[in-house]
Each structure stands twice: as C-alpha cells, then as structure tokens.
C-alpha cells in the first residue's frame, strides 16, 4: 500500500532519505513537465524542480499535515515550482524556444504521427507567446492534472481569476491551431 504524503513528510522531517526518494519519485515527472511548459527550457525547469524539492527537504520539519495527504503536499510543491518558474520567466523575458519532446506514439500511422508532430510544433510556438501566468494555468491543468480550485490555490489566486487565465490561454491555443489550418 502506498504511504500517504503526510506520513512520508514526517519521516523526511527526521532525515529519512528513502521517504524523500519516494516523494521525489511520486512528483518529479509531473513537476518537470509542468515547469518546462512555463519556462520553455528543460534545463532551467530541472533546476527549478530541484530547488522545489530542496525546499521541501529543508522545510519538512515545519510541515503541518492538513489531512488528505497527497493533494496538500502536491499542491504545495506545485505552488513553489509555479512561483519559481513565473519569477524566472519574468526575469528572463527572451526565453529560447526549446525543441519539444518528440515522442513517437506507436498507435499512430506515419501520416498521423507527422500531423501530430506538426501540431506539437505549432503548440510550442503558440505557448511561447502566452504570458507566464497563462502558461502556468495551462501547465497546472494539463501537466499537473489539478482541478481549477487546486490550481488556483497553487497560484494563490481566486478560482475565478484562475479560470479567466485558463480561458484566455485556451483561446489563444485554439486560435493558433485555427490560424495554422487556415494558412
């Protein structure tokens, strides 16, 4: 049976490296995906995620379990990583467009894979034009898989304000796909 996050953090607070490894293993993939989406650069995202985990380690003895385990700690981590990523993006306005991961889906035919690759390229380009907070809204929703309420908490804004960011971001991506199709 999986340990609850709160139980793991209690162990991390006592310096338990194995418990920390479990937490890192549990959240690393989604965090890196989310952060890469915001900063647009894998190497920078890795540094940010590393810093978020470092903060989790340092602050573990001060963690206050709130019940519900995973959502709370996961939300806290997402908040730290999102804030670090937005801060980074604001400092470095000209973020280089990183080549998107190019996974090959075995269920797609060669033609379908070519279209999908083109869509990923278009999406990557459209994402670079979004303001950092809209990128964060997309990343929290699609990479972190958080609900609007949890995403709003991670960004420390109201649910209404979060939905507004998400609506604008989705609209921009949808229109980018439409424009490309038209051209």
């Amino acid at each position: 049976m999986e340990d609850d996050d709160d139980e793991l953090i209690v162990r991390v607070a006592r310096g338990d490296g194995a418990a920390f490894a479990r937490l890192v293993g549990r959240y690393r993939t989604r965090l890196i995906a989310m952060t890469t989406r915001i900063v647009g650069n894998r190497a920078v995202a890795e540094e940010i995620v590393q810093e978020a985990f470092t903060r989790a380690w340092i602050n573990a003895p001060r963690w206050k379990p709130q019940g519900g385990g995973r959502a709370n700690f996961g939300g806290w981590l997402a908040r730290v990583a999102t804030n670090l990523a937005i801060d980074h993006t604001r400092r470095a306005r000209s973020v280089p467009l990183e080549e998107a991961a190019e996974p090959v889906d075995p269920t797609l035919s060669a033609d379908q894979e070519m279209i999908a690759a083109e869509d990923r390229r278009r999406l990557g380009h459209a994402l670079t034009k979004l303001p950092p907070r809209q990128k964060a809204a997309i990343a929290l929703t699609y990479d972190q898989g958080l609900s609007n309420a949890a995403s709003a908490e991670a960004m420390e804004i109201s649910v209404g304000a979060f939905e507004l960011l998400l609506v604008r971001a989705r609209r921009a991506l949808r229109e980018a796909m439409m424009e490309d199709k038209a051209s």
Binding site: V24, R28, F53, I58, N59, A101
Partner: protein, 137 residues
C-alpha cells in the same frame, strides 16, 4: 434557427469550449447536450472543437519525457536537497499554557485601567458651561 440565434449559440459554444476544454465529458450536462446538437449541424463549431482537441492532444504528447532522464533529475534533486540542513520545527505553546498566559496578561492590563464613576474634569467643565447637571452621570 435564425442567423442571430446561431451566432449567439456559436459564441456561447466557444466560451464554454475555452472554459471547459475539448473533452465534452467534462462539460456540465446541459451545456454538453447543447454543444452536441450544435456540432451536428455546424461545420464552423466542429472546426473550432477540433482545433481545441488538437491543441490538447499536442499538450499531452509534448509532456512525455524519457524515464532515464527523469531518474537522473531525481537523483540530482535528492543530492542537492540532502546536502542542505533542515529547518528546526516550530515549537508552539500548548493551548492551555497559551490560555493561561492570555488570562494573566488580561488581568494585569485590567488592573492598570482607571475606572471611575465620576466624569473627568474636562467633561465636568463642559457641563458647567452648558448649564447641564452632573446627575446624568
């Protein structure tokens, strides 16, 4: 359907598409039924819906990372974190002790306050000038 009502229905569809995303399963039941009806007869709506679904599919696909790389990142994160000292836990007073401290502080402050049934000199002078009586006190 009149062109005006189509336009308003189409605009409402776009607003919902941006709010709920391309997965109609995630939409509220009523909104979903209206969207499905519109999608059946509007190629314009279908094009917008497909664009959203393609954007979302691309978002999902571009998330993929190689496991080896992830493991490497995790190892570095752990190494970096564990090299740093942890914060000491915040010590808090038990609530009973905190309540006792508050009570003692309250009693002490209460003792300092001057309670007087008599009006102050300034008020007395004002009442004298206006011809009022001290009986009101």
């Amino acid at each position: 359907m009149t062109p005006e009502s189509y336009e308003s229905e189409f605009q409402e569809f776009l607003d919902r598409l941006d709010l709920y995303g391309g997965r109609l399963e995630d939409w509220p039941v009523e909104a979903r039924a209206a969207a499905e009806a519109l999608l059946e007869h509007s190629s314009q709506a279908r094009a917008q819906w497909n664009a959203m679904r393609r954007a979302e599919a691309a978002l999902t696909q571009s998330r993929a990372l190689h496991d080896e790389r992830i493991n490497d990142i995790a190892a570095r994160a752990m190494q970096s974190a564990q090299a740093r000292p942890q914060q000491p836990p915040i010590r808090r007073l038990p609530w009973a002790v905190a309540a006792m401290v508050a009570l003692v502080a309250g009693l002490y402050v209460g003792q300092l306050q001057i309670s007087s049934e008599e009006p102050t000199e300034i008020v007395t002078a004002a009442l004298d000038q206006s011809g009022g009586s001290h009986d009101v006190w």
